[in-house]
Symmetry: C2
Subunit: 348 residues, 2 copies
DNA sequence: GTCCGTATTGGCAGCGCTGCCAATACGGTG
DNA sequence: CACCGTATTGGCAGCGCTGCCAATACGGAC
């Protein structure tokens, strides 16, 4: 009666069967098989509370025999907190966010947590929607990108009482935990570096800054620092598309068409800068003799170009890992500035 | 009595309060607030079953007033299936997997599913562990990469009865749903293309093929197709590290040091090929006059190089989206070969 | 006004697990 | 041998929601 058959016409009124006609194995099955109580099985499986060595062996044998897989859905509902962390990133196209994920998932796994991810496409309304969706899983914490969120998102976050870590930006007030670096300062450092090297006719090539707020902060920092030295941006080109190698290549081409005597180009990130470098290679523009290039992010690819790209290396993986760890360990609200590193390279 | 206070010393024996001293709002609260039954609230929130317009308005008003967020953990436990799909990928470093994720999460979101991701670092034992971990969330389906899994993984997958989609490879028997393309055929096509162009002293630069089984299949296809034309690989260089621009650059350097008269280099993917291209640029090696380069994946960056990279474009985003859709809609087991496209480029 | 079919609605038993608490077993002690 | 403190163990009430089913309301048709 217990082991029935795979009879598809089974009409018993209580037993739920899966598609293959098997009843899912539950903790109660394991308890029966091991001839111990349910709570004993639960304790053994979580190594929590006390039990004898003999019992542990019995339970583990039963688990193996039945091929039991604990149901964390039930476990989470019964206990208070889940072992889930929600991660909200704007994009998967730009390698910086997978980097962030990489750091976070590695740290999370170590702490026994699982990550649920959601992508916003740099849209704050979509961010609000995915935050709501993630909150319905009652996560132990949420990792979001940046400090800018619309009021609805803030309200939901606050109402949920869930711990939040905001990443990759420290220029502004945070909600709870903040891990990142100053984009504004990065922009400023870039400007000072170029000016220090003697460049004077400096242009900017960026992407859609209304959506990418961190890029906008770098731009602002760059422009302001330039102004402080008495210079102004010679010109700028904003490509409407998201940042990409292609956007950088086309953006630089457009900018040079307007301002042929530019002596340096500041890109909103390394992908764009790589595109600019390709444009220079293709058109015989000497780098940095005729035109200097400066990026942002410190991607590997920049380091391996024939002339290493001048850029700013950001600790993205570390930011993800740090945030994950703080969230898992229940750290108090804090701001962690991981800083950045200016890489002189050879293109500026 | 109902609205109590935020009294931290509340000693009532039943009410669970969160860190902020608030009792989480449940569906029962909403029902009380809207003066309807719990099941009515449930029906309205899921737009499932019938209810009057008046009731919908009442419920929605109550939800808004209380700021209620449904608890999907409880919902999933009570109903049969979850709206979670587990995604297992080998790495987040190589952009192809974020691409896959991108396709999958976009399609999943459209169907009202959420994704839980896990990374294996190309390690089959870790794959087994993360599959077990994902299964404990009782996902509606699992997306895994490739067709090779160790016996433990296969056993768990089979025992769980969960639908599985295997991605990016069609060279071999699948477990259930398979979406991808033939890596072997891609390798063959690459070899035939290079031979057709007149190259004869062809070398291979790859990474760790014991871990990346799909790269190994391309390599095998390439080598076999070469042999069929009466040629043999002039030499090959296997870098021990994972694939990267750096590995490609160093690998080509090492190979050319051994075989200076190579006339074409086949790389295990575009990242490696880009590294090789950079080596050529840095050392004044004319491409393709002196050395032809061929990659795999069809990354954007290859298209934008001064000379577009000869490569094979793979539909990674589409594969993720297709798999997600098939899983969500409960498609029967099937193999979907999305094919690939050879891009002639200018480097070969 | 009566009767019946359909549209709405509420009650309540679980889903599988954990947390609490009482029950029992074990190992000395006096 | 009775007694006590500690180590193990089992029972069972929920966690918040959904699914089932019975109860009620509504809207004509007769």
């Amino acid at each position: 009666m217990d082991e029935g058959g795979n009879d598809a016409f089974e009409t018993g009124d209580a037993e739920p069967f899966d598609m293959a006609g098997r009843r899912p194995i539950t903790l109660a099955d394991v308890a029966r098989e091991a001839r111990v109580g349910e709570s004993t099985v639960s304790r053994v499986l979580r190594s929590h509370g006390s039990f004898s060595e003999k019992t542990r062996a019995r339970v583990e044998a039963a688990v193996a025999r039945l091929g039991y897989v604990p149901n964390r859905i039930a476990g989470t509902l019964a206990s208070t907190g889940s072992r889930l962390i929600g991660i909200v990133i704007p994009s998967l196209t730009n390698i910086v966010f997978p980097d962030l994920l990489r750091g976070a998932t590695a740290a999370l796994e170590q702490e026994g947590f699982q990550s649920v991810i959601a992508v916003t496409d740099y849209d704050q309304d979509r961010e609000e929607a995915v935050v709501g969706s993630l909150l319905s899983w009652r996560p132990a914490g949420l990792i979001v990108t940046g400090l800018e969120h619309n009021p609805g998102t803030r309200r939901r976050l606050a109402a949920s009482g869930v711990r939040v870590a905001e990443l990759l930006d420290t220029d502004g007030p945070g909600l709870d935990i903040v891990v990142g670096y100053s984009n504004r300062a990065a922009g400023e450092a870039s400007a000072r570096h170029l000016v220090g090297r003697g460049y004077r006719r400096i242009g900017y090539i960026g992407h859609d800054l209304t959506k990418d707020r961190r890029a906008a902060k770098r731009y602002a920092g760059f422009r302001d620092a330039l102004r402080e030295t008495g210079l102004a941006l010679a010109d700028e080109e904003r490509v409407a598309s998201p940042s990409s190698v292609e956007a950088g290549r086309q953006g630089l081409a457009a900018l040079l068409a307007r301002v042929p005597d530019l002596d340096a180009a500041y890109f909103s990130n390394d992908d764009m800068a790589l595109g600019g470098y390709f444009h220079c290679l293709a058109h015989g523009i000497a780098v940095p003799g005729r035109l200097a290039l400066f990026g942002y992010n410190g991607l590997d690819v920049g380091r391996l170009m024939p002339q290493p790209l001048a850029t700013i290396r950001t600790p993205r993986v570390e930011a993800g890992a740090t945030a994950a760890r703080l969230l898992c360990t229940g750290s108090p609200a804090t701001v962690v500035d991981l800083g950045f590193e200016l890489i002189e390279g050879a293109t500026a």
